[in-house]
Symmetry: C2
Subunit: 561 residues, 2 copies
């Protein structure tokens, strides 16, 4: 990042480089676009009802006090009482046994027993059967969302979300892989910050629901493969080079919460669904679970847009997945005035074809501060429709409008300084348009490669699911206009919201879902785009707006004419 | 403890009370009997061959490197290779997965995999199949013994032993229970010191065998019920009051070595055999395993002598167990000149019936420093045979010998100051004789109660096993003369040495043995002596030497006449 002449003239300095030589006091102003605000991160997602069959269950048990004539250990007394309830247990967690003697006496021989399968994992005095909660966590490259569920009725009782604290170590997963591999200790550092963040979200969600973190008995965590590895403290180093092997692939992991340092009940386990490949992780599996595309007759295309975009195509007969590095542009990164979907972010753009004047909508209707992912896609689509840019993505500086200017590079002024909270014009630059072209070309090319492998045509796609924050706020027609995904009737496009989070919640509530996951992973193929001979040409052709070959986008072609 | 006039006159002072008022330098002499020497603790025990079937096995595995076209996770590559060896594994320890990627690459796709059941618990580069060891530990109230075994051939490669560092918190288990229950933190403290000690023994045994502690993949630990509880960090508090319930009774425990802080390979498990009751623990189970009395047609009586003495009676058809508080006297405790079986301890005593002059044998043939357990039993038996004491245990001060004197209480001089290393006469006091009477009466009464419950007579006992350090060094006839166990032909008495340690080693080497343990525990009954109506009268009658009722000891009665 460097500052323009105008910015320098305006007093802007990079805090990382500037030395304050001025004697005496000075006022340093952090511009609003650089302030980290509490973002409204997407935590909502589609809700799919699942038969509730949780892995940890509580039972209120009345014990029979032993006598000298019938001496028994506390554990045997408990086992006998469990047997009266038709429950058998030969195993007990050391922690449960440690608290057993006092629990029994302070509960006056009436205790609540938490069991996972046939193992006693926790004992508490008295009847606490109504207090059993679980946490579903979606660790994204950019954000982390946590959902607190009541395991008795499956209801969501609290949520919390935050930016992924690993961002300072690398915005995308490739940079984080490099950082993790660079020096001894870096891996532990990355793991440490994400665990600390999940603990913080656990606390927040619990506080909101008046739940004690020790009442959380089960955790499901999804993330892309690299996020999973970092969370578990497993080196993602070899994911950085061909053939990109993860350490843990198509195997679910179950680790003890306390082994990774989560401050739930110490007996809780963390279930991490299997990954499909190095760059299609448990989060994509959770997407599939939430959209149920693996159980549907309809041919579905699932796109979970993020810095890394996962794409899955198929139906109940089989699925094929791939991933592409779509970059941070669609989340507002690498865009001159890009920002996350915080209050003041321009999220919708319409441009009058006659006057070239824009109409804007911002998050929370605050004065504009920058442009978020859906806003920039809207802008590019509008600029294409109005001829401000050509199908090559070049800004036409011949267009007669004060909104179009050349400031180093050609750009289009979305918001004038006078009308916004930034004190500067907010513009879409030529480079911004190119970033969007690169991102959408990768996603489209990935989709096409999947279609080729499954030997289906775009017209056969019956449903397109857009998942992820971007995939919730974007205007589906505008995304199609720029050519992000195949040209299908708009009613086939559905929003899945944070589907990964939804899938994680489903896995938290149902053993059956976890079993399904094992099956679906078995029937999901993977394509390494880097190894596909036609990817490069498909990508190149998709750089145009919407595509070099307009016959692939008949609806959009008609609209542009 | 307080000092006699003579001792005070001799310059003896209690270090815990004395204040040094003298100006200038002074020499403080710690008398030899107060010095803590490295004891030669009993680590030997009977050896019983077991079919070797260890719980952790190593396999050297050649992996197939994946390609872009055949991308696989490291774990999947490993699973495929294992399948080629007929091994299936869906589970892997998080630690093993963490080290997998580097192990694979530094081993150039050839690694050694350690498996417990179907779980991968450790991976190492190259072929390390020859390096796999296990540790068997016997945690006694007074001493801890550790045995390092090569799991490839079952051979003992190193041993180490030490005093139980919990002794300062209480000499016997009752005092330790009190201490553990008194204050928050005490339990952790007792656990901490025993874990530290086992770690130290692990280091020592490993050093002697040129083994790295990380090459220790399995641990078996036996101890009495209280020692087990303290080792696992489970409160023994309720063992201190009727009906004396342990927390863990007839259930084997398996905990991760790292969960309790053992510095073996971090994937090692610690197997703790089940206890039979509050005061008959896993050590007694190990005794049974080592003596195989549960698999024999012969009616056998097993006595593991210690501060707490476990007694088991029975044969393959069933066993009955009890325990009695025999006190520390038989290990040299609570005896005026008592000491552990260290060099210089009087371990054998013979008294000339005509001159009343003693003949002594000391440990390592060093000049006498004190009397150990076998020495004091020998002395009491010899004093009885020579009429120095009556069958009531009273010293006959009428006997004409300079060896018999009254120094506050009547006593018999075993070793004159001139002939020993202590600089003082070593005597057996009237109180010492009483301590032995109390100890042996408890053991005998316990044995009789077991016989009553099984409805057998002492003449039917076909074998008596003496286990524990005392039970190895004691003269079996002298023990019978004082009436410690039933009067049987001497050839029926066998030494089992540290049978608990032997049993622990057997369990370390064989899965089958662990299965047997579950069966034998099921067929072993328990008698709480405190609840038995005839225990008090049996105990009172057994206080005489060898017993109030001489018809129970026909051989000894004849010998005394």
């Amino acid at each position: 990042m460097s500052l323009s002449k105008d910015e320098l003239a305006g007093g802007y300095r990079l805090a990382c480089c500037a030395i304050l030589k001025h004697e005496g006091s000075a006022i340093v102003d952090v511009p609003p676009e650089s302030r980290l605000q509490l973002q409204q991160l997407l935590v909502a997602g589609i809700e799919v009802a699942v038969p509730r069959d949780v892995t940890v269950k509580k039972f209120f048990i009345q014990l029979t006090q032993p006598s000298l004539q019938n001496a028994k250990s506390d554990f045997e007394v408990l086992q006998d009482a469990l047997a009266n309830h038709g429950l058998r247990s030969k195993k007990a967690d050391l922690g449960a046994l440690t608290s057993l003697p006092l629990a029994i006496r302070s509960g006056r021989w009436a205790i609540t027993v938490s069991m996972r399968d046939d193992e006693i994992i926790c004992v508490e005095p008295g009847d606490t059967t109504r207090r059993i909660f679980g946490l579903a966590v979606d660790v994204g490259t950019t954000k982390i969302a946590a959902y607190l569920l009541d395991l008795n009725d499956g209801k969501l009782v609290g949520t919390a979300s935050a930016q992924n604290p690993q961002i300072p170590y690398g915005e995308d997963i490739i940079t984080r892989i490099s950082f993790a591999s660079k020096e001894e200790g870096n891996l532990k550092q990355l793991q440490g910050v994400v665990i600390a963040s999940v603990n913080q979200l656990l606390l927040e969600a619990c506080e909101r629901a008046s739940v004690n973190p020790s009442e959380v008995f089960d955790v499901v965590l999804v993330g892309n493969t690299v996020m999973n590895h970092l969370f578990l403290g497993i080196s993602p180093r070899f994911l950085g080079a061909s053939p990109y092997p993860p350490v843990v692939g198509r195997t679910p992991m179950s680790v003890r919460a306390k082994d990774v340092g989560l401050r739930t009940n110490s007996s809780a386990n963390v279930y991490v669904p299997p990954n499909i490949a190095g760059f299609v992780g448990a989060d994509a599996v959770a997407d599939i679970i939430a959209t149920e595309i693996d159980r549907s007759k309809f041919l579905s295309l699932l796109i979970d847009v993020g810095t890394n975009t996962e794409i899955v195509l198929g139906n109940e007969e089989g699925l094929m997945a791939c991933s592409c590095a779509s970059g941070p542009a669609l989340e507002g990164g690498h865009i001159e005035f890009g920002m996350r979907a915080e209050p003041g972010a321009i999220e919708n753009v319409y441009i009058d074809p006659d006057t070239f004047e824009p109409w804007l909508k911002t998050v929370a209707d605050m004065p504009p501060r920058g442009i978020c992912g859906s806003g920039i896609v809207d802008a590019v689509a509008a600029m294409l429709k109005t001829g401000i840019i050509s199908r090559d993505g070049l800004i036409n500086t011949q267009v007669k409008s004060a909104r179009i200017r050349v400031d180093g590079v050609p750009c289009y002024v979305l918001s004038l300084a006078a009308g916004n909270d930034l004190g500067r014009d907010i513009v879409v630059t030529q480079r911004d348009v190119q970033e969007i072209q690169l991102a959408k070309a990768a996603i489209y090319a990935g989709s096409v490669i999947l279609m080729k492998h499954l030997k289906v045509k775009s017209t056969e796609i019956e449903r397109i699911f857009l998942a992820g924050a971007f995939g919730t706020y974007v205007d589906p027609q505008n995304a199609m206009i720029v050519g992000m995904y195949p040209d299908v009737p708009l009613e086939r496009v559905q929003f899945a919201g944070n589907a990964a989070g939804s899938g994680a919640r489903m896995a938290l509530l149902s053993r059956k879902v976890r079993e399904n996951i094992d099956h679906l992973v078995e029937k999901t193929g993977y394509i390494e785009l880097a190894a596909d001979p036609s990817f490069q040409s498909e990508f190149a052709a998709a750089l145009q707006l919407p595509h070099k070959d307009l016959t692939r986008f008949p609806t959009i072609a008609q609209l542009l004419n």
